[in-house]
């Protein structure tokens, strides 16, 4: 273990952090909407120096065989090499795949998008919703930043029209049918204490983390643990903290 990790751990054991925050403090959160002209919806979200842009694109395609009257939602994430000195070009890595899949589950399981309303012709044609997560700068807590950006972008997406077998992207009249605002909160355990909104430095020193997606009604709709093991009682503590913070963050989406 290097000196920096040890320093973070020592601070954490007393509930302190090297940037002066307390356990439950977030960094400054900045949310910008409609930042990408040609996307159906988009948002740029920053938590301190962590920055993510999410763009929503729509198209028309075939539904899945087992859901002939449902639109299709797909989420991808690219940890662009611009975001971090360690990233390299190549196929999406484990971490970006996990990030996309955790954000996907939070949105999918909460039934945020009303996919039934995206059916054009049963069994033949439905709207496809592509949600692409682009990491611009990586300074920790990427799952929460990406999830917040995705939910914000979806809430501000406008649907193109479909006329005579052609998608008209110039004419956007209706909003994308969305409901709910699932919020994903990742809680990290460092030296036996629990922290939200960890920086990259903190993540290098952390023992484990649990990401929890929480619906407007307080129900949880997705969970993903990473890192080392946890006791049941620790899991409960994490859920309580996540539930508390989700309420705060939900207010930021409009």
């Amino acid at each position: 273990m290097n000196i920096q990790e040890q320093f973070i751990k020592d601070l954490a054991s007393k509930g302190n952090r090297n940037d002066g925050r307390k356990e439950k403090d977030y960094r400054e959160i900045i949310i910008e909407k409609d930042v990408i002209p040609k996307a159906e919806g988009s948002a740029r979200v920053k938590f301190g120096d962590s920055e993510v842009i999410v763009g929503v694109k729509m198209g028309v395609g075939a539904p899945f065989g087992d859901k002939p009257d449902s639109g299709v939602m797909m989420i991808g994430a690219e940890l662009s090499p611009i975001a971090s000195p360690d990233f390299e070009t190549g196929p999406p890595r484990e971490d970006s795949i996990e990030l996309a899949r955790v954000v996907d589950r939070g949105i999918r399981e909460s039934k945020m998008i009303d996919l039934e309303k995206l059916c054009i012709e049963k069994g033949e044609k439905v709207w496809m919703v592509f949600i692409d997560i682009q990491i611009i700068n990586h300074d920790g807590n990427l799952i929460d930043v990406a999830a917040l950006a995705a939910v914000t972008a979806l809430h501000n997406s406008k649907m193109p029209t479909y006329e005579k077998d052609v998608v008209n992207y110039e004419k956007k009249t209706k909003k994308l049918p969305v409901r709910f605002k699932p919020i994903t909160i990742t809680v990290a355990k460092i030296s036996g204490k629990f922290f939200v909104d960890t920086t990259l430095e903190e993540e290098n020193a952390m023992d484990s983390r649990v990401s929890v997606a929480i619906k407007d009604d307080g129900n949880i709709c997705a969970v993903q643990k990473g890192g080392d093991s946890l006791t049941e009682s620790e899991i409960h503590q994490i859920f309580d903290l996540a539930s508390e913070k989700a309420k705060e963050l939900r207010k930021l989406i409009n």
């Binding site: 999406p92 484990e94 795949i97 996990e98 996309a100 899949r101 589950r105 399981e109 909460s110 039934k111 649990v210 619906k215 307080g218 129900n219 949880i220 709709c221 997705a222 969970v223 993903q224 643990k225 990473g226 890192g227 080392d228 093991s229 946890l230 006791t231 049941e232 899991i235 409960h236 859920f239 309580d240 539930s243």
Partner: protein, 227 residues
């Protein structure tokens, strides 16, 4: 108490079969069946890590590769890694790591390969059970065995080891891995829609079932040594 599709009680797992030492070439191996789900795990190592740039100077690296064979599912699945299998490989590795002493032999690697040869729900948990026994079978020092199972809730009933159509009916699917001796949860995932307080019941039933699996894992290792 409601009856389940296949007649099981809510807290009853499917018939379980565990066999250690099923692959001669491997340093350790195991086959685990949960009903119609079958996973085979093989362990190779610790051995020198190649390529060298992936070596860790002060510890052994654990690599896991979870894979479903093409004929394991009703609709043939294409061979090769998918986004799903990449994620499961990652959480499987994290489910096993807490049980191992990885700072013993620097610059080495332990490879854990899991092939799901028949799939009927619970493939990742069955794979973790097999991998855990295979690691022990390889003689790799372990803090504890890792047992794994999923639980959920259908209607008002918490149920363990969902199978068949139960996967579609459950309001949540919570796969966990658990080290019974230290009472540590090493895998925790969830899909669904459930109040926090119900989650606790689901988690409780899963950890209780892991204790039963744990016994069967130890029996299988015992049989292996007697042979």
């Amino acid at each position: 108490m409601v009856k389940r599709e296949d007649g099981r009680k809510p807290d009853e797992m499917r018939p379980i079969e565990i066999k250690a030492g099923v692959i001669k070439n491997a340093d350790g191996s195991a086959m685990v069946k949960f009903g119609k789900t079958i996973a085979i795990a093989a362990v190779y190592g610790p051995r020198a890590m190649h390529p060298r740039r992936m070596q860790e100077p002060d510890r052994t690296v654990l690599r896991c590769r979870y894979s479903m064979v093409p004929f394991s599912t009703t609709d043939r699945c294409r061979p090769g890694p998918s986004r799903r299998s990449t994620e499961i490989s990652k959480v499987t590795r994290e489910a096993l790591e807490p049980a191992l002493f990885l700072d013993e032999i620097p610059k080495t690697v332990i490879d854990v390969f899991i092939d799901v040869i028949a799939a009927d729900a619970g493939t990742r948990t069955t794979g973790i059970n097999a991998a855990s026994v295979a690691l022990a079978d390889a003689g790799i020092p372990m803090r504890d065995l890792v047992a794994s199972v999923a639980a959920g809730k259908i209607g008002k009933e918490v149920m363990v080891d969902l199978a068949g159509k139960e996967e579609e009916e459950t309001s949540c699917d919570v796969p966990i891995a658990y080290m019974p001796r230290s009472k540590q949860v090493t895998l925790l995932q969830m899909d669904g829609d459930i109040p926090v307080k119900d989650f606790n019941d689901v988690l409780k039933m899963a950890t209780k079932s892991c204790e039963q699996i744990y016994k069967k894992q130890k029996e299988a290792l015992g049989e292996r040594w007697i042979k």
